[in-house]
Symmetry: C2
Subunit: 590 residues, 2 copies
């Protein structure tokens, strides 16, 4: 793992240095930036295709505009690596030891060239509109530029941003980076219009951007530095909102990412120039594979079952084979989580059986739809929430917040399975029942199969399962922290000689009052374990329940904080989520 050698990039310490380059040097720089992206992604993984596609555009932007006086807002940050390399952070791409110092996302803690921390899609136009309006209120003069990919256009927030920014009445530049792809394929009618625009060199009669009143320029050669420089010079200091629609090649410069745009969008480390680049991985049985098998089998017997997702099929390994097999029983709504939930409600209310797969950090987009469109209507849809839990992820992609988000909404049954057998039973129960909106938190820790069939009737709501009955201390271990609960029980036995009760609550969204009351007779301490934020979560409800009694309750989970790439062990220690620490706490109050 040696430091990447570059000739032009090594001279670039700020955008000022870009402005000094000849075209020839800029083209060399483009090659070196691509090498930097590949270098980093191969070592620590990351977004590949998006950055490769905007190398020329980023060079041209920094050549023409004057960051950080001019303000850039890059949507979702998937394409920000070239920008980072040109704004004093090239070592994050060329030098192995600094790779993980520099995040993969826009991050205002890193650089004044990143005005925000950004990791969710479709936010750039709205954020930039606010910046432009602040500039105007303060009587300042500079350019505000949002760069947004075609895929991000499908999110409602982007639309709201376009609708409002178009009437700003002052300088505002939106670069639409059209690489003909979202994370997976683009979805929706808007993309037919983009195609028409590309095919007509921007001249077709219907123009979605012009329909808002935006001025508009189309650039077919979106990977040509000189053409881009000429265009950006033309729009610099414009006195009104304008869209510059550039056509780029996602993955440019790395053939596998050009050929396989979906698997080349983001790559795990160590995969570059390996056979696996095709995206066809053999994966061992896990929650993702059994979910796919379940859905495929179910659709065979019931044509009203439909798998829904919002632009991230790869997260659940819903690969093209799976999608093709499902055919019309599959909908990718694109980046449109609000629609996904409302659509699922409509499906369920009219007799279909939707299964909506979604990542924890993106279900956040649809709180109101979960409440108003789904739960208030008791629509019997199934939502599979993936990637929930404490992790060392970027601050924008934490899986910590879904429990308070979902379990405090009336009418939603939120379930936390602890093993394969429970998961499949819950999933099938949810799909077949007609009375409740159901969400299931797909475990993220170890994949566990007990081999014991689960025959629970989950229609009997909020019935916790006593895994082992003991006394003095009861451990309520939610979902994929059941294993931790087991180890705490063992620790209490070995270190304190206590036979603790171990409970698998299964229901995140309700309290088993009967069971909790029954514990009062021979328990003095209850602890709760949850793999998420404590604030507003599951454990606090147990504490509240016991408030009028002498039962002591300790809640374990994550603190209310945005953590950014903190090592797991550090987090678990900080949150005292270790069997020895928990046993110590219990000992101190017994």
């Amino acid at each position: 793992m040696s430091v990447l050698e570059t000739t032009v990039l090594e001279t670039i310490n700020s955008p000022e240095d870009v402005k000094k380059l000849s075209l020839e040097e800029m083209n060399i720089l483009a090659d070196e930036i691509r090498k930097g992206i590949l270098n980093r992604v191969n070592l620590i993984g990351g977004h590949l295709g998006p950055g490769l596609g905007v190398v020329e555009a980023t060079i041209a932007l920094h050549y023409v505009f004057n960051s950080p006086v001019d303000k850039f807002v890059f949507d979702v940050s998937h394409q920000c690596y070239p920008h980072k390399m040109l704004t004093g952070r090239k070592e994050g791409f060329t030098s192995p030891i600094e790779h993980s110092e520099i995040s993969g996302y826009f991050n205002y803690n890193e650089s004044p060239h990143d005005p925000f921390m950004i990791g969710h899609t479709s936010t750039s136009v709205s954020l930039a509109t606010g910046m432009a309006k602040a500039r105007d209120l303060k009587g300042e003069k500079y350019n505000v530029i949002a760069l947004i990919g075609d895929g991000s256009l499908s999110g409602g927030e982007a639309f709201e941003g376009f609708n409002n920014s178009s009437v700003l009445g002052s300088n505002f530049i939106v670069i639409v980076n059209d690489n003909e792809m979202s994370i997976a394929e683009n979805q929706g009618g808007l993309y037919k219009n983009l195609k028409e625009l590309r095919e007509s060199n921007g001249t077709c009669s219907n123009n979605w951007f012009k329909a808002f009143g935006f001025d508009y320029i189309y650039v077919e050669e979106g990977n040509n530095i000189q053409v881009l420089i000429d265009t950006f010079k033309k729009v610099k200091d414009v006195d009104h909102p304008i869209v510059v629609h550039i056509h780029t090649l996602k993955g440019k410069g790395y053939a596998p990412a050009v050929e396989h745009k979906e698997s080349g969008h983001w790559s795990m480390p160590g995969l570059l120039n390996k056979a696996e680049d095709s995206g066809n991985y053999e994966i061992p049985e896990c929650y993702e594979t059994i979910t796919k098998d379940y859905i495929l089998n179910k659709v065979k017997e019931d044509k009203s079952v439909i798998a829904v997702n919002a632009a991230t099929p790869g997260v659940f390994w819903w690969d093209s084979e799976f999608r093709n097999k499902l055919g019309k029983n599959y909908t990718d709504v694109g980046i449109a989580e609000q629609h996904a939930v409302a659509y699922s409600s409509g499906l369920a209310k009219n007799g279909a059986k939707p299964i909506f797969g979604v990542m924890t950090s993106f279900i956040q987009r649809s709180y109101d739809q979960l409440s108003q469109d789904l739960a208030l209507n008791n629509s019997p849809a199934t939502i599979l929430v993936y990637w929930g839990g404490i992790s060392s992820a970027d601050a924008t992609h934490l899986g910590l917040f879904d429990i308070p988000l979902i379990c405090n909404i009336p009418n939603i049954v939120y379930l936390a399975p602890t093993c394969k057998e429970e998961y499949l039973r819950m999933l099938d129960w949810s799909v077949e029942q007609q009375n409740y909106s159901v969400a299931i938190r797909v475990p993220t820790c170890e994949y566990i199969s007990t081999g014991v069939e689960d025959t629970t009737d989950y229609s009997v709501l909020n019935k916790y399962k006593v895994a082992e009955r003991g006394s003095k201390v009861a451990i309520i271990a939610l979902g994929d922290f059941f294993g931790l609960g087991q180890s705490v029980k063992d620790e209490l036995k070995s270190s304190l000689g206590i036979d603790a009760t171990l409970i698998n609550p299964r229901f995140i969204s309700g309290v088993d009052e009967e069971l909790l009351n029954s514990l009062k007779s021979d328990h003095s301490v209850v602890i709760t374990l949850e793999n998420g934020i404590l604030s507003g979560g599951f454990g606090e409800k147990i504490s509240s329940f016991y408030g009028n009694s002498s039962m002591k309750v300790l809640n374990y989970g994550a603190k209310k904080e945005f953590i950014d790439r903190v090592p797991m062990d550090e987090l678990l220690t900080s949150y005292r989520l270790k069997k020895e620490l928990i046993a110590d706490d219990i000992k101190s109050i017994l």
Copy 2:
């Protein structure tokens, strides 16, 4: 209050009866429906202009289509009164005693002609898309029709619905009811396109709907029953998605609502044909008026202060005079809460001082923006949350959920003032500080001025205020339940002889650990009072804090349930939010 006498309407018990009418009878029916709307709104208040504008369209829809086999989804429900009158619920409009039996919103509990309960905007297209897809999966044949007002088009969820429904590939009809108004004026570039479409009779080159690939018909005479019937017949059983853009007159048939479209959108009871119809009310000093005064004064001295709202300025009494005075220091983003939060973040991050006013039930639209766009970026914006609290409102407009929604997001300081002086101090602190994203829960109960200036430095976070120090029992009374806390204290004194401690926490989003620890020495019971849902809220955090001690904690607030127009007294009794009931509870555990 007599029963409204009608000649045609009285014969209509279901849409089948509409199909039997002559054009002449339908025109009489239109008049009688209008009388029904006015009759109801005058008696119990409600949405006035929207329903008056779609009387003809609703008659024509029920004449041509076959509800409930054909499925109607009415966006936001502001315009559903005529639909209710034609679907077996006319007594809710003609007979005073049944007025409040029938809700003002789409409600599946009332009728199979309302497939959903709906009260938030911009949801219809997505919900209907799901219904249409379910129909297709099941091989059924009928029409699915969404009716959406021009104002609702600005919400991101509507856009996501348009983008996805346009590629449905089967029967799908969207009636765009264009009355040239949102709740207040429409906002954004899209509305220039609607104007062009109206002015060109639907033929202008840029067409926002066609840009998605929708088939499209324009109907200028949107209040002409025969024209509408002819049009709807043309699109009935269409095999692809189509937009029928009808131009209607908001408030038609009631001059004051036509002339004053904003104040005529929704009316309080008893105002019809009164001088107040102009919308110019004299209102006594209240949180709304002092907020307006504060903003106006602040803007005079600081041009970077800006008031932001999302389509509901009337809720805060931000009338046209206020808006005009603010000029460029005011932004209405239209129905676009996601944008409003991200825009506020952009404003704050670039040095402006945004004050975003929003209703509790609509801030729900922006959970992800509050988390990712605002809080993660520590953008020092101020959000004023209005109408939070327990009420006998419709299930779609409950103010119960903002505390768990906001206070569990890291980095947001959520404040609960108890009086005018605290409120103004918090507001000014928030506007002037640069370190935190701040939300303030504007009290909804009694307006209280203590006359004592508040000089607190709210930068010292999570410092609760001990209003009166006693012993044995501590009452932590949040925000506008501080008055209830006072009365509980009095009750404990008179009925149990206890001098309780009374605490005004002021900070919803944090726990004052030092104070809570100090209570342990001479208190055995702590109670919490909050005007919102308990689940995930403030009180549970206090319970959790005391979990390792012998302190007993009782949490008072609303249950996790969607309540629909339940009388306040019934709710307060059910939630034991009465001083005598609380005193009884305390007595039982002392």
